[in-house]
């Protein structure tokens, strides 16, 4: 199989004007799975938890503690966003490792493809992360203080403001390309290794990809969180 190195996601069909790519399909599957897991975990919440509730509590409490260590009193607002990034990305990454991905084809196109191996998906998340961060910044600082970060009458700070604006776009690129690059490269590596010898040999790479999937989800979450915290903090540099 020599299809691994295709940057564009394959389009399976169209719903109206929306091209349904294999990555978009996977993102819907991930959403559905997360919905089902959430509903099952909180179906009958008990004060003495067991099974899935216990497991999800562990994950959410851990995430909440990490977020509250960094975000402090803004945890309640930031947590749902950053943790949804985490859960969405980690589920998408790990589901992409299941057998059948990129191998089951439909009219010559693979039906399933790891969500993050499509720049559309990662860039979409990065854009949303940036926009939400700026909305939070306006919410916490007020419009005037928010603008003061970028525009200033002092030429030096004006220059710094321009640099900051450039940095915002860099963030966007780094967030999206980091996630995309890691997962896409992982896909390519797995396809190549499986092409060389499909038995046992890919196993270590699968372990590696499991770790990478977790790390990338955590990195995306932590970076978004840090950007949110940084932008919503009143900066004292101008005094």
């Amino acid at each position: 199989m020599e299809h691994g190195i295709v940057l564009k996601p394959e389009v399976l069909g169209y719903i109206g004007f929306l091209p349904v790519t294999n990555t978009l399909l996977v993102s819907w599957i991930v959403m559905f799975i997360l919905l089902v897991v959430s509903i099952f975990a909180t179906w009958r919440l008990k004060l003495v938890p067991s099974g899935l509730q216990n497991f999800m509590e562990m994950i959410i409490e851990g995430g909440y503690n990490i977020v509250s260590d960094i975000a402090g009193n803004r945890t309640k607002v930031f947590f749902p966003f950053v943790f949804t990034f985490f859960l969405y990305i980690i589920f998408a990454n790990w589901i992409g490792l299941l057998p059948g991905f990129t191998t089951i084809t439909f009219h010559g196109e693979p039906i399933l493809r790891s969500m993050s191996s499509d720049l559309n998906m990662t860039l979409g998340l990065a854009l949303l992360s940036a926009v939400v961060t700026h909305i939070f910044a306006i919410k916490y600082l007020g419009l005037w203080d928010y603008l003061k970060r970028w525009v200033s009458f002092n030429p030096i700070f004006l220059f710094v403001g321009v640099l900051e604006i450039v940095a915002e776009f860099t963030k966007l690129l780094s967030l999206s390309f980091r996630l995309f690059g890691n997962i896409f490269a992982g896909e390519v590596v797995l396809a190549t290794i499986a092409g060389i010898f499909a038995f046992v040999l890919p196993l270590p790479f699968y372990f590696l990809e499991i770790v990478v999937g977790f790390v990338q989800a955590a990195v995306f979450m932590m970076l978004t969180l840090v950007f949110m915290v940084l932008l919503t903090e009143k900066h004292e540099a101008e005094h």
């Binding site: 790519t21 978009l24 993102s27 919905l35 975990a41 509730q53 999800m56 959410i60 966003f81 979409g124």
Partner: protein, 165 residues
């Protein structure tokens, strides 16, 4: 830029689709996962804090109750001791009383018996005197061969009694 983006297959509609995906997922997770679970975590925290507080209170109460119980026991012991002392005292009193009563009774009995003995003795004395008198009469009659009259008898009796006493 355009070329790079088209090479990666970036389409605005797909970006928008992903944004919508994320927002839907955010809503779902907030409603079904974060909300309920964070609530239940908070509730559990409250329950644990409350039960700890309750346990502390119970311990405090237990301590007070123990102290009270100790006090009551000490009091009861004291009372029991008092009762024992009292009963000992009364017992001794009763014993003493009975002793004196018994002594009195004994004394009385002694007196009665001595009186009785005295009476008996007097009676015996009288009898002896009578008998002696008769004996004297008989002996006198035998010796003298004279029958005594009443007057003689009287004289003789008095005489011999004088001699006797």
């Amino acid at each position: 830029m355009e070329k790079i983006l088209s090479e990666f297959g970036v389409q605005p509609v797909l970006l928008a689709a992903q944004v919508v995906n994320f927002l839907i997922l955010l809503f779902i997770l907030k409603k079904f996962l974060y909300g309920p679970i964070l609530k239940v975590l908070q509730k559990r925290k409250d329950v644990i804090a409350e039960s700890l507080r309750n346990a502390e209170e119970i311990e405090k109460k237990l301590k007070v109750a123990n102290e009270e119980a100790d006090k009551i026991i000490a009091k009861a012991l004291e009372e029991a001791k008092k009762i024992l002392d009292d009963s000992n005292k009364t017992g001794a009193q009763i014993l003493a009383d009975t002793n004196t009563a018994a002594e009195e009774i004994l004394q009385k009995a002694k007196e009665e018996s001595s009186k009785f003995i005295e009476f008996e003795r007097i009676k015996l004395n009288q009898e002896v005197r009578e008998n002696i008198g008769r004996l004297v009469f008989v002996a006198f009659e035998k010796i003298t061969g004279k029958i005594l009259t009443e007057e003689d008898k009287k004289k003789l009796t008095e005489k011999s009694l004088k001699n006797l006493s």
